[in-house]
Amino acid sequence: MIVCERKPFEEIKEMMKGIRKVLNVGCGGCTSICMAGGQREVGILNEELQNAFKQDGASFHVDGFTIERQCNADFFQELDVIASSYEALLSMACGAGVQFLADRYPQKPVFPALNTVFVGVDRDIGWFEESCRTCRECVLGETAGICPVTRCAKSLFNGPCGGTAQEGKCEVSKDTPCAWFEIYKRLKDQNRLENILKVKPAREWRNQTQGTLVQEAYKKRYAK
């Protein structure tokens, strides 16, 4: 899941300055699940904004509208009908959703209410952990299901570095496990250490330009 967190209120308020009527668009996808930008969070933010501008004596009106996903055009039809009556849009989707919204309404200023933090998993309720950097060349099969790109602070492919601290902690923080210590332990338990005995050559980074993807089954459909 894409994990997001709300921007500081003051930053959001600053973006809204001078706008009299705004629609806050929530997202029912990832940001709803990670409790950052679903219907509930749209309501909370709108109330805070409304109160803050009221205190300032400024003319400001915000409504909320949450669509199923902001990253698919199929879910925008209802929004198309109402968006035109607002000066600007505030989005509580991830960075991808914000851009999709902005592309949909290119005449309208669109503002992000969230920061997109990472691709991650639920550690517990309301507690998330980054686990994938979308490097486009997954090596998890060799590294016992532990990602060296994401979980090693130096993204080493031939770790561990010389900084692994006692009890297998990363040099950057005593609270962070050393990814390569974990990889070593798990591979050893699985009797698969040969996976990391050989030098892993320099990788061809594939995520340095914007990616697009057409799944194999659809290649004909989109062929030019």
Partner: protein
């Protein structure tokens, strides 16, 4: 005999002499005199001097820049390069530039994480890692090819160094990491500071059993402790350094008074050097003085590492 680089360090090691290298940390500025002063303590008593590359992620004069000044001062630099600050384009380009100006030794490192330094919010590069860097330099030297396979017009003949830390977890994996560095192309190894002789002996035995000591020159790293406070601090806060309690005790119990603790630290260091000389497979000492360059001549003298062989 054909040399890989023809550096003095390579000649010393290939001739079977016991090598002695030290370290010079560039200044946090363009203070050339500071480099010349440090160099003056090391000139004539070392085979090569490591020029550190923005160590602890604190911005300093570039290691190649300081290495050129070291050459002017008569030192042979061991040019350190970390993977933290450059991508493969910058690295290969800097290697060519440094080589063109007379640099013949390199130490290939991952680098301390940027979070420790004075620009903690910078973007770490880590395009390649230290082992991939070793392999890249070897490819540039032996195959005369850039990492992408393109031909090099004037290949850099570099004596390739790598670091090894026997004192970081997982201990039983460390010798395999050494093996990976050797197979990637390391010609010599400089180890992390050794205080736990028992652990170091064990690691050297493993390296010997795996045949690694026949393939690579291992220089044992030492740093004299300056005070009990430094010993405690390093033991507690520096990842990958182990200082046994008896060493800390000796520093704590050192007589009070100016220079007494420092003298105890130097004594410990000298005792360790004597022991290290006797360990099979140890081909030299790498003394990291950490702003104590001026004490290196005295330590080298008392450790009977002088005069250096002429090669």
């Amino acid at each position: 005999m054909s040399m890989k680089s023809g550096s003095r360090l390579e000649k010393i090691l290939e001739a079977g002499h016991f090598a002695f290298t030290s370290e010079l940390g560039p200044p946090q500025g363009a203070n050339v005199e500071a480099i010349r002063k440090k160099a003056s303590y090391l000139n004539g008593i070392t085979d090569a001097v490591n020029i550190t590359d923005n160590q602890t992620a604190v911005v300093r004069m570039s290691s190649w820049g300081a290495a050129l000044i070291a050459i002017q001062e008569g030192l042979e630099p061991n040019y350190q390069m970390v993977c933290r600050d450059r991508n493969r384009i910058a690295m290969q380009s800097d290697i060519l530039g440094a080589y063109a100006h007379g640099v013949r030794n390199m130490l290939c490192l991952s680098g301390d994480h940027q979070q420790f330094g004075n620009h903690p919010s910078t973007k770490g590069v880590f395009d390649i890692d230290s082992i991939q860097l070793i392999s890249m330099v070897k490819g540039m030297r032996d195959d005369k090819k850039f990492l992408n396979g393109d031909e090099i017009d004037g290949a850099p003949q570099i004596f390739i160094g790598a670091a090894a830390n026997p004192f970081a977890e997982p201990f039983e994996w460390r010798v395999h990491r050494l093996a990976k560095k050797v197979s990637a192309g390391a010609d010599f190894i400089q180890t992390q500071c050794i205080y736990d002789m028992k652990m170091f002996r064990e690691w050297m035995k493993q390296a010997g059993d795996m045949g690694l000591t026949e393939k690579v020159h291992i220089l044992a790293g030492v740093t004299p402790l300056k005070s009990a406070g430094m010993a405690r601090y390093m033991a507690k806060n520096v990842s990958g350094i182990i200082i046994p309690d008896d060493i800390i005790d000796r520093m704590v119990k050192a007589p009070k008074g100016a220079g007494a603790a420092a003298e105890e630290g130097i004594k410990i260091c000298l005792e360790h050097i004597e022991e290290l000389k006797e360990i099979k497979g140890v081909h030299g000492i790498h003394l990291m003085p950490i702003e104590w360059e001026h004490r290196v001549p005295e330590i080298a003298e008392r450790a009977k590492l002088l005069p250096r062989p002429q090669v």
